[in-house]
Symmetry: C2
Subunit: 874 residues, 2 copies
């Protein structure tokens, strides 16, 4: 028979998966001989079983709970339901991963109409007893019975009004007794039955409520954001109550072994005498700094410091502890590795190594790669943020915080920015013409488009904060305002964006600049020492390439050449090429693009200082370079010396029902090989130029969207012929390689064969995810919400590699490719390349490198180190 319930003294810290963090640590502290109010943990497996059984706790588990309860009674010397000396307990959630505030807690459980009198008598404090009872009724009703707290607050406030008092503490025992009566009457009225008097019923119902809270919307949302599986479930801790509000020899507090903001090694925390935890939170009384406890009660302080030192050394990490002093006796209610700012995380990790507590590898594992974002981008000032209200949410498309005046055109953004005014560019969606405005904006907000929309990709490259695809924001670009929930925000109004969460605020929030300390360099150096996966960047221009190089990128894994064709004069030449009717006309237009493209590549090569540069050939369907609206077509036709009908006909002939699956990638080059000839000429001539000027470039030419060996072979033959002719003509030696994206399921399946021509693979996991799932990234937003709500998906497959489906194809492709070419270079250049979970997966399947946007390079470096420390490569 499975064991579902563990006494604290039966367990230890290694049982975190089974008992949750809180339960495992309470057990560990018990084992360490620390003063912990005793109790037991109902395991996460019991939670899973609760859901399997159709949201009920089966008899077996109920029996185990009561068995553990009896053993606890023996330990604490009190009996549950004994009205003379009532045994009160708290019921708290505790999942494997910390999910602060997401689930529910019930305190003072065990009180009823009789026990409250016993408690009054025993403590000789009727006011305390009835105050505890009214708190319990409120909490139980709220958490277990889903009766809103406001029902009780109204009664409470009314009493205070009647008595003409302001502070809760002014209420007498008699007042509280009357309030309890009022609460119970309200409960009866709302539920049609009296408030449950049987402590056992209270207990089981409360445990069920905690299990249930695992599935509440905020918990689900939090899990999705933090990639915590629904399957894990939560444990429930049932623990003897201790009271910090039993008089001036009682109290409660929280403390950290180091400063969680700065990481400084100084004991940090606060406490309140004669109070319960809630009172601290309620903010009615101002807590004292923990240091004053030393003066107030030196013995307790000494004991607490000894415990906390021991805990930090034991867990080898900064601890966040909760304690209560009941009538002069210290109790530890919780310890856990403390949450900390990114800066503090670095400092603590490095200090713990210096102090000899951690190895470098262990220290690296203490820093969450995702946290680094906060070091590289501006953040909101916490105090300024505290009072701000989220008006809408979008996709967290590019991290950082931004505040500024809303503008609706790139031109206006440039004007205001010139005057030194911070602006947020707000658009339905951005297009290449908006680049200039995006470059000067503090942040970019779009109402349409996904994580790989133009706005998102460009902003990430620039390191500019961006919230994309905020569907509830209705942008009226013509009249220059946007509307959210009926409220309009006009040009010049202050708004703020959090690109790391997707939050949008309708007001100014002060930001603080990113600060990169020496600790950052130290940690990154360690990361580089322990990783085996290389980290490259996705960059299409020298500016982004330089940023990435400075962040430690070891090459360019993806240069999207089409981005080079959108700016200024270039798009004109591109459009000339598109409307060409003959190969000759097309070649004339391409000849105009050649010098620009060559210059682009020279810039990229130079910024990479000898690291490899992977250049992907033209990928998007040609219609992306032409306007759609008749008005714009007419204008362009005039500009190009065409009739409207001619240009319209071109636009229509390029229209596709499913452009994602249309005439793009290698398919374009098959139809128009002259494009590949031009691009090869630029790649090779630029490399020769750079090498002749002291550089050392080995270009990697990458053919996109290949699904069949012959596609690749056809194009590779053209590339090699063109390249070799140029090289021979220049009389130089130049190495280059030709490889392919693996982004079509068929390419992954046939990787072994494709590797006979491909000299390297790069996984394009954006497209591979789209086709493996049959999801259009542009459209999936409409139904992914339903998928989360119905627990079909726990998170977005475009954010984290779907290891089961897409990942299986990747593994096949890695194995297949290496069958043909033993040491074949393989990377990933999809959005997933900067996602720590996906980096871990890429490490484990044996990729050579990941490539990500410049500001994600440090994250990927750290994630790669984590992956290799956890699972070292042979």
């Amino acid at each position: 028979m499975a064991k579902y319930v563990y006494l604290f003294k039966e367990a230890n810290a290694t049982m975190r998966n089974l008992l949750g963090g809180k339960g495992a640590n309470l057990a560990e502290m018990t084992n360490l001989g620390m003063p912990v109010p005793q109790g037991f943990t109902v395991s996460t497996e019991a939670c899973t079983q609760y859901y399997t059984d159709g949201r009920r706790i089966n008899d077996e588990i109920v029996a185990q709970i009561f068995d553990a309860l009896h053993k606890t009674e023996e330990i604490v010397g009190k009996t549950f339901g004994d009205n003379e000396n009532p045994f009160l307990v708290s019921v708290r959630s505790g999942a494997r991963a910390s999910m602060p505030g997401m689930m529910d807690t019930i305190l003072n459980l065990g009180l009823n109409d009789d026990a409250v009198l016993g408690l009054a008598k025993q403590t000789n404090n009727p006011r305390f007893a009835f105050d505890s009872y009214r708190r319990f009724i409120t909490m139980f009703s709220d958490v277990v019975m889903e009766i809103s707290k406001s029902n009780f607050e109204a009664i409470f406030d009314k009493k205070k009004e009647e008595k003409g008092i302001e502070l809760d503490t002014e209420l007498t025992a008699e007042d509280l007794k009357e309030i309890v009566e009022g609460f119970k009457a309200r409960y009866l009225e709302l539920k049609g039955e009296p408030f449950p008097q049987d402590p056992k019923v209270q207990l089981i119902e409360s445990i069920k409520a905690v299990f249930r809270s695992w599935d509440n919307p905020r918990a689900n949302y939090y899990r999705r954001m933090n990639n915590i599986p629904y399957e894990w479930g939560t444990a429930v801790n049932v623990q003897a109550m201790v009271f910090g509000n039993m008089g001036e020899d009682s109290g409660t507090g929280v403390a950290f072994t180091r400063d969680p903001s700065t990481g400084e090694k100084e004991f940090y925390g606060e406490y309140l005498f004669n109070a319960q935890g809630e009172d601290v939170v309620a903010g009615i009384r101002t807590p004292k700094p923990i240091s004053e406890l030393e003066k107030d009660n030196p013995a307790i302080y000494k004991q607490f410091r000894e415990i906390s030192d021991k805990l930090e050394k034991h867990y080898k990490d900064m601890q966040d502890m909760e304690f209560t002093i009941e009538k002069g006796k210290l109790f530890m209610l919780q310890t856990r590795n403390g949450k900390r700012t990114a800066q503090a995380a670095l400092k603590i990790a490095i200090d713990l190594v210096k102090e000899g507590l951690l190895t470098e590898q262990e220290a690296l594992l203490k820093v969450d790669p995702k946290q680094l974002d906060a070091l590289l981008h501006p953040t909101f000032e916490p105090t300024s943020l505290a009072s701000a209200e989220v008006i809408a949410k979008g996709l967290n498309a590019s991290p950082g915080a931004a505040t500024g005046r809303a503008v609706f055109t790139a031109e206006r953004a440039a004007e205001l920015a010139k005057d030194g005014k911070p602006v947020i560019l707000v658009r339905t969606e951005t297009s290449p013409e908006d680049i200039e405005g995006m470059a000067v904006a503090s942040g970019v907000l779009t109402s349409r488009g996904g994580m790989t929309s133009h706005a998102a990709v460009v902003a990430r490259g620039m390191g500019t904060c961006c919230v994309a695809g905020a569907g509830t924001v209705k942008v009226n670009e013509e009249e220059k305002f946007f509307e959210v929930a009926g409220k309009k925000y006009f040009e010049g109004d202050y708004i703020s964006l959090d690109g790391s969460t997707g939050n949008i605020y309708g007001e100014e929030i002060k930001t603080q600049d990113a600060t990169v300390s020496g600790d950052f360099a130290t940690l990154m150096a360690w990361a580089d020492k322990y990783r085996s996966l290389k980290v490259r960047t996705n960059a299409d221009n020298p500016r982004d390439a330089k940023t990435a190089y400075d962040f430690g990128a070891e090459g360019i894994g993806l240069c999207r050449t089409e981005h080079m064709f959108f700016e200024g004069e270039r798009i004109k030449a591109m459009r000339e090429m598109i409307v060409s009717k003959t190969v000759e006309e097309r070649e004339v237009a391409l000849a105009k693009l050649l010098p620009m493209q060559r210059q682009d590549f020279i810039g990229l090569y130079e910024e990479m200082h000898g690291f490899p540069v992977t250049i992907r050939y033209l990928d998007p369907p040609l219609h992306e370079f032409l306007p759609n609206e008749d008005e714009d077509i007419a204008e362009l036709a005039k500009e190009m010396g065409l009739t409207f009908d001619e240009l319209k006909a071109t636009v229509e002939s390029l229209h596709e029902t499913n452009p994602m699956l249309g005439h793009r990638g290698v398919r374009l080059s098959l139809t128009y090989p002259e494009i590949a000839v031009m691009q090869t000429t630029a790649v090779i001539e630029a490399a020769i130029h750079v090498n002749q000027n002291g550089g050392k470039v080995i270009p990697e030419i990458m053919i996109p969207l290949v699904g069949e060996l012959k596609e690749l072979k056809y194009l590779k033959d053209i590339v090699v012929k063109t390249a070799d002719e140029i090289i021979a003509k220049a009389g130089v030696e130049l190495e280059y390689s030709v490889g392919t994206m693996i982004e079509i399921p068929r390419a992954a399946i046939l990787a072994e064969e494709i590797a006979t021509e491909a000299e390297f693979f790069s996984f394009g996991t954006n497209d591979l995810t789209q086709m493996t799932f049959g999801f259009s990234r542009d459209d999936a937003g409409k139904f992914l919400g339903d998928y989360y709500d119905k627990k079909i998906f726990e998170n977005d497959p475009f954010a984290h590699v779907d290891t089961k489906g897409v990942g299986t194809l990747m593994k096949w492709a890695v194995e297949g490719g290496r069958k043909t070419r033993k040491d074949m270079k393989m990377g990933i250049c999809g959005e997933h390349g900067g996602d720590p979970d996906s980096v871990d997966f890429c490490h484990n399947i044996g990729l050579s490198y990941v490539s990500c946007s410049p500001f994600r390079v440090p994250i990927a470096r750290l994630a790669a180190a984590h992956a290799n420390i956890k699972n070292p490569r042979k």
Copy 2:
């Protein structure tokens, strides 16, 4: 060292792959002691090597050719290049599969200015000698040197004009000599060098030309149509010339051992005295029926009949033979299994069994499943077709031949049809409102849309001829005409369509009705006896279901329920559902659809007489049910009592960038589970109704577009709950199963897991092909032409299952599914289900059934028998 060249006497009929059909059969006849002009075959491997070597014949192969030539000289007792007794040869292509007329032939090779004199002297017939020389110059120049025949015809015609004569035969030897001089001068003028005099050069250049002709456009097109791999290459046969034009004791002819039109066992053919093969083709003289040869030359006739009888028995098939009589001596130039009409194919196969020459299995293999189409659909009268001109081509979307007056609206089609006039409905594309017009039309022509467009799918179901997606046909529906190459065809003009080839004719061509003989039933009964794969049909209405049942369908493999929602009142209710704002509103609209859907299912069940019926739940994106154009939206809004803006907003909110990868299939039911509840209610209530009335239905409920187990589980739970409640309420017993389509790559990859919930699989190879290749079927037409031209693809992956990519996924899914459920039922319901090659593949990977459109059911039955005979299931 590889052997590339074989004397006829070194080879035999089993070497067809290496030596081509013609070469292998010439060898076989040689072995059988038949009178064959001797020679040798340059193998198909030499052809492949020719392409590998960059279109040259390497020295090794050249040496082998001349070696074989010398040995042939010894056999025939003549020497190549001997001007006294010149040794002349023919050079003919001969591929593994017969490709009549697709490649090139050169006769009389070996002639030059000296040899022609030798030939004149030796034959004592200068006219014959110079006539042979001028024919050789023309052929060699045309085939080898790419000099158009018209250059020579002009000279020839000019001479006839000068002499004032009409018939070629009136030209004298002297005339022909002058003509030869003229030809040679013209050759020199065009090529800058004299006509090659060295017979060895002539020979090697001619062999190269035949190899080259393997890659000519018409050969490529023919191969693609007949699914013949480019890799096979062609062999080349070099054979001693014999002359049927050496006087009245010479002649040439063709004969069949049975009548190729009817299959009757009567010797059939024609011959001409004193003539070469070309003369028969040129039609200047009318050949005599072969039976007259018996009178003209009884000895030769007897010899020929003995040979032909022996050949038929030897090859166990009707033979198509070419022969030449040179100066009273019979020579066999070719024998092959003769091409025949579908009707003849059946009769011959069955007669050969009756005659004890073939087993039933062997007889089945003699009938090409694709040929059956011709038995089931009208065809053009050959004489009427002969003179007709193809004005355009589209996709061969639904087979058969049709002729009638062009109409441009369904209404007009109905009007004219009522008057008994045959009509062809011409539309840009069809929509559900056109159904009535399609039902009365003889054929349907669309200018847009692919093999699975509305027009194609509906026409196939009806068995109506359809040519779809004819891009060069510009349809002007408003002004009621279409335009092809500048010519307009107006309403009422006669046009004709061949739905089996995609040909469009701008005139009336008489058609003949399909005739199904008793032979058909016999052959189908044999097919059923030897196949293990079941054959079901794709049918959405009782009419199609009945057709399919009559054709032998063993159930419905795919009922596309959305097709039921397009007609009349139904689309109104569907649209009400779509614009609903709440679940309740949606349920009201669905309640209107329920009785109609239930009635549909009753009809289908009844027509299937106890065979299983698989019902696929709603699949297409909802926007397919709404209009797109503002005008239509306004009209519909008025009809529905909505404002234009409201309806427009709905249409816009449903718009998708890539609808193929959008909100459809199971994703719709996840968002709107009430649709699945309605559909389940209809499926189950209909089954109960039918069973209570003496039927026996086991419905199979199929969830489309599943890519993740939890999707299926979520929906299956709803289906099972709904179904079980209805069954319990009715107090009956009813079996049903719930399965899924495998049409998303991820589903194939995770089939083992998905099979824990899915009770059956059905491969949706249309979508699976789209996603595995990353090809949108609607858009791929634009670039697939380039793919064929550049030999990336040899045929359309939407027509034949891509066994390497898509097929690998299918195999994985079959293995995975059967790991979980040992005897899991698996079928295919994509377009490929009716394609014989794909049926073969489905048999080999172990599917339980294929499902195809009604008129393809016999084809699939025969293909399934072929598959099992070739590769019997254990």
